[in-house]
């Protein structure tokens, strides 16, 4: 069979773990309206922190927990560049991303940290009774459900409303006594924390952390968000969060199918970029919500 269950299972596993990253991208790009390119660097940073800790003999769960801390710091760096030094969002993100390349290499000590034969979070889940075949799926579902729930709750708190309003109307939030800079720092920190968490989970899933694993991540995240919004809509808060997760899974399934058609893995960046361009230019895809910060 051309599309078999194993292909779908593998793509779904990847889609769910990458969905954590897509939720982070949604938080910065859509909620905050901040086109944040830190993502390419913070994804690798999360993977690097996690891999180095595991290679150093620490628990894979510690690696998973400390990765988002590093990601939050990366997001804050971009936030400070933008809010304090008045650098445009795009350039602030590129600066942090570039600096992170060196930081990531320092963290890992070399371009690639293999984790073969070392314990991963999935191993410990499999040992706790979950069938080995579904350990990754169980982690992905559990993690994504928890995060969607947390974000949905956050978006409805007083703080969450202020965060959402910051991405909508900066003049208004100031007139209501909200410090827009604090909100941007909060959003960028949380967003990149999620991205780094995703990077850590991916590194443990594929069994290595690599310098180049974050390249094009922001576009993949954006593609997931757009696919989700087109397929599932964005009528309510909960719906759009679920749509982002769904978009990530669908995106990975599409990639798996395209690979099966005989394309090289290295062709996928071109494919993904074309997908995003298509989504931004074909009017019916854009629907009600325009990607204003991405178009001129």
């Amino acid at each position: 069979m051309f599309i078999n269950l194993n292909l779908l299972l593998g793509a779904t596993e990847l889609g769910l773990i990458y969905a954590i990253m897509a939720l982070g991208v949604y938080l910065t790009f859509r909620t905050l309206d901040f086109p944040d390119l830190t993502v390419d660097g913070s994804f690798t940073l999360g993977a690097a922190v996690s891999a180095v800790l595991i290679a150093g003999g620490h628990s894979p769960w510690l690696g998973l927990l400390l990765a988002p801390v590093a990601g939050i710091l990366a997001g804050l760096a971009t936030g400070v560049l933008h809010t304090r030094f008045k650098i445009t969002p795009l350039l602030a993100g590129i600066l942090t991303m570039t600096a992170l390349y060196s930081v990531n290499l320092r963290v890992m000590g070399k371009a690639n940290v293999p984790l073969l034969g070392l314990p991963s979070i999935y191993d410990t889940l499999a040992r706790s009774g979950i069938p080995e075949k579904y350990a990754v799926l169980a982690f992905g579902v559990g993690c994504v459900v928890l995060l969607v729930f947390l974000l949905y709750w956050l978006f409805q708190t007083e703080l969450g409303l202020a965060l959402r309003a910051t991405g909508d109307n900066e003049t208004m939030i100031k007139s209501l006594g909200i410090n827009g800079n604090s909100m941007k720092l909060l959003g960028l920190g949380l967003g990149n924390g999620l991205v780094a968490l995703s990077g850590a989970a991916i590194a443990q899933f594929q069994g290595f952390a690599d310098m180049s694993m974050g390249i094009g991540m922001i576009i993949a995240g954006l593609a997931s968000v757009i696919i989700g919004e087109v397929l599932l809509g964005s009528r309510s808060l909960l719906r759009v969060l679920i749509a982002v997760v769904g978009g990530s899974v669908v995106y990975r399934v599409i990639i798996a199918i395209v690979l099966r058609l005989g394309f090289q893995a290295t062709d996928m960046k071109l494919f993904t970029a074309a997908l995003v361009v298509l989504a931004l230019t074909v009017p019916q895809f854009r629907g009600k919500q325009e990607y204003d910060s991405l178009r001129r």
């Binding site: 409303l161 100031k174 827009g180």
Partner: protein
């Protein structure tokens, strides 16, 4: 001490260039509690700059500003917002279009307060919102979960007005808030403004393009020209003033014609 004290405030833009423009020139103004002051003046007279200086959009070059006994001079705009409610000329500026009416009001309900991880919308708060929205008489109380972007300009401006006073401010700043609306809607919003300000006895500064409104509403009218206050009238003197008088006075004090592309000269 008076409620609002503006002392010798100067603000120039593009300083040191050929485009240098003095928006506020050694301006002083004092408002008593409950004063409802209307501000008129030609284009570039400094009317909006006066409001922006009070709201703290940018630091002033010289002078000090006190409100309710508090020195505002060094505070950023978002901190001054605890004391000040604002409505802008552009209906798009006062509300978050992608968020619902109840979410916008919930944001306004915490103006100047700490925002924590408590649920923003509770049964109690929704009930209060409905009561307040009903007072606007626009039927918005039945549309709590409508995104604000779907409302008309007039509805958005009325909502912004409600948001500005939802937490009672020490000072209300209205910057030609009916200018972008069609005349009929503008009239409705102006009437709402009058009712709200008078019933709450809010200290208010309203910039307007309509001299007739400026003389009719509030208890005091000031006219600005080139960053200074050239006319300040209240009481019987103001009651007897007509649009023609204002235009004549303007020509005398400024030596030029009153020009404002939005000014309505009709009686």
């Amino acid at each position: 001490m008076a409620e609002l004290v503006i002392k010798e405030v100067t603000k120039a833009f593009n300083k040191g260039t050929i485009n240098e423009k003095t928006a506020l020139d050694d301006l002083s103004l004092t408002l008593e509690k409950g004063d409802f002051v209307t501000v008129i003046g030609s284009n570039g007279a400094g009317k909006s700059s006066l409001l922006n200086a009070i709201a703290g959009l940018w630091p002033v070059d010289k002078g000090r500003i006190w409100l309710a006994g508090q020195d505002l001079t060094g505070l950023p705009d978002y901190q001054r917002a605890a004391l000040i409610g604002r409505v802008f000329q552009d209906p798009m500026l006062g509300t978050a279009a992608s968020m619902t009416i109840e979410e916008n009001l919930a944001l306004a309900a915490k103006r100047g307060m700490r925002r924590g991880l408590k649920k923003a919308l509770t049964y109690q708060r929704r009930k209060q919102m409905k009561e307040e929205l009903a007072k606007l008489g626009l039927g918005l109380e039945n549309r709590l979960i409508t995104p604000v972007g779907l409302l008309s300009g007039g509805q958005r401006q009325a909502l912004t007005l409600l948001m500005a006073i939802y937490q009672e401010p020490q000072l209300l700043l209205l910057d030609e808030h009916t200018a972008a609306l069609d005349p009929k809607t503008g009239e409705v919003v102006l009437k709402l403004t009058k009712n709200i300000v008078e019933s709450l006895k809010l200290t208010t500064i309203m910039v307007t393009h309509n001299i007739k409104d400026a003389l009719k509403i509030g208890n005091r009218t000031i006219m600005m020209h080139e960053g200074r206050i050239v006319l300040d009238i209240s009481g019987p003197q103001r009651e007897q003033m007509t649009t023609e008088d204002i235009l004549r006075l303007f020509a005398e004090t400024s030596g030029s014609q009153f020009s404002n592309d939005r000014m309505l000269l009709v009686q």
